[in-house]
Symmetry: C2
Subunit: 339 residues, 2 copies
Amino acid sequence: MRQVVMYGPGDVRVEERADPTILEPTDAIVRLSATCVCGSDLWPYRGAEPVDHQVMGHEYVGVVEEVGADVRTVAPGDFVVGSFWASDNTCEICRAGYQAYCVHRVLMGTIGTQAELARVPLADGTLVATPGRPDPDLVPSLLAASDVLGTGWFAAVAAQAGPGRTVAVVGDGAVGLLAVLAARQLGAERVIAFSRHADRQALAREFGATDIVEERGDAGVAEVKARTGGLGAHSVIEAVGTQEAMMQAIHATRPGGHVGFVGVSHDVAIPGDDLFMAGVHLHGGPAPVRQYLPHLIQLIWDREIDPGKVFDLTLPLDRAAEAYRAMDQRTATKVLLTP
Amino acid sequence: MRQVVMYGPGDVRVEERADPTILEPTDAIVRLSATCVCGSDLWPYRGAEPVDHQVMGHEYVGVVEEVGADVRTVAPGDFVVGSFWASDNTCEICRAGYQAYCVHRVLMGTIGTQAELARVPLADGTLVATPGRPDPDLVPSLLAASDVLGTGWFAAVAAQAGPGRTVAVVGDGAVGLLAVLAARQLGAERVIAFSRHADRQALAREFGATDIVEERGDAGVAEVKARTGGLGAHSVIEAVGTQEAMMQAIHATRPGGHVGFVGVSHDVAIPGDDLFMAGVHLHGGPAPVRQYLPHLIQLIWDREIDPGKVFDLTLPLDRAAEAYRAMDQRTATKVLLTP
């Protein structure tokens, strides 16, 4: 099969590799219908994380081709969506809703889903079958559920977005934009999106943003306070992963409010005294997407949400290098790859 | 009146100062029955915070002597307990339960309650009258409610201590010990206290600790994990304020668990990637003690709890320098001063 491999920063290639096989009786082999490039894939691409001949990709939807002897809940022919962490969904941590920390978790990025086929460990716990074979136009949205929608949803839940609350979103990438959608779905009346890009502002508004703020850092904080009676937002979502974004999120939140952070943290150090005086709740990390998949799949199936709109470029898998380049140069928000 | 003044690090004196007077119609003048030295007073005492001829003290109980024209809920003769933040208890932040961040807040430490009398701003919002004149043996417990009990209670709430949850407490000062008491009152079945001091271990057990762990740092974390099936505690309370204590708290908490931190933060920087991978909830800061005062006063009045046991030394106000010395040298956990 063909698979994307990052040889080093900026060097993405598509190679012929052996087809995956069932290794454990709990495995499934999935023929991928669609996969994509994640914002987090750009960290190694830009040299901000070490990378050396690494298989890439952790977002995926597709059709089950084969299952191990112990797999019960999915079968060959099922169209499935999985999360970027394989999880057993039965351990104490999973049952508490934190499948991204399952005691048996496997990071799908180490398997690589920017490929034609993927072995999915812990298939019963990881994969969720759709109600039937999806219409082709639903595939991008189902793919979004695999990570960016699930992550944005978790961020909104962590920030306790809901009725009566004003939510601000730091970051206008796919996760930030889908956090806007999630906040509105969870009942937030007012959603302030930080964005300086006209096309992303438009998508944020389409997903339900009521306010757009172009200022960043302290000026962005001041603008949120000015729009919330001087108090700050009830809920702020951090979907970038930088020091500036994290501090902007903390400072834009009112005392007693909630920050949900999902940007993969790079060189961030939160000053303890600053956090102490802020009085906010802080929660985040890798999203337990598996928890939300059944609900998100249903919302997509019923065409109540259309998160697939974050994909603004589709390329065949063979042109993966071009996909990375487009996201790196921000000429695309998120690129879908068709194997 | 006599009042404690810290001239500089290590230099605590008792001086004659003018009696306070009503400055605002919302003020009350309280004749203090008891006051005390806080663990946070030791930071400037040790030179870790700047201090120059600073009046000291923010914990207090006493009898109202005079009220301003607008005060409605307390009257001369009432025995009252107040928090270390004066708050209006009516603004949007107060109504959300975060009185320590009241939009009109006044820090009682800037007024100084290690004195014979104190002016309490925003008396209606700040002071809570006891059901009657307390028996003398209840006074230490009521004084504890003013800060250390209220702070320990908030930490336990922030850590979501409750039925079915295992709670660990980092810090065996008065706040940590009372966080043990609070966790048990909130229903926690198992409370692990970190302590190396026999007397504090004994008081922790008296307040309801089920386990004592003497290890600190990574070894302390490993011990908590060993006692919780490898997962970590559901709830961890940080009541110290150092980098080691904060990281010990974060790492001893299971993914999805809750850290409540109330140690006044000094030179703490939380690595973003560490927090990201931990997946915990983090909440803390100056405790909104006012929120809990009515409940805590009732528990004390009904003799259901005896938080006053954290005071292991009582001295007259004139010997304040000795009180600071005893706490600095850890020969006393907490010193009560009688004006």
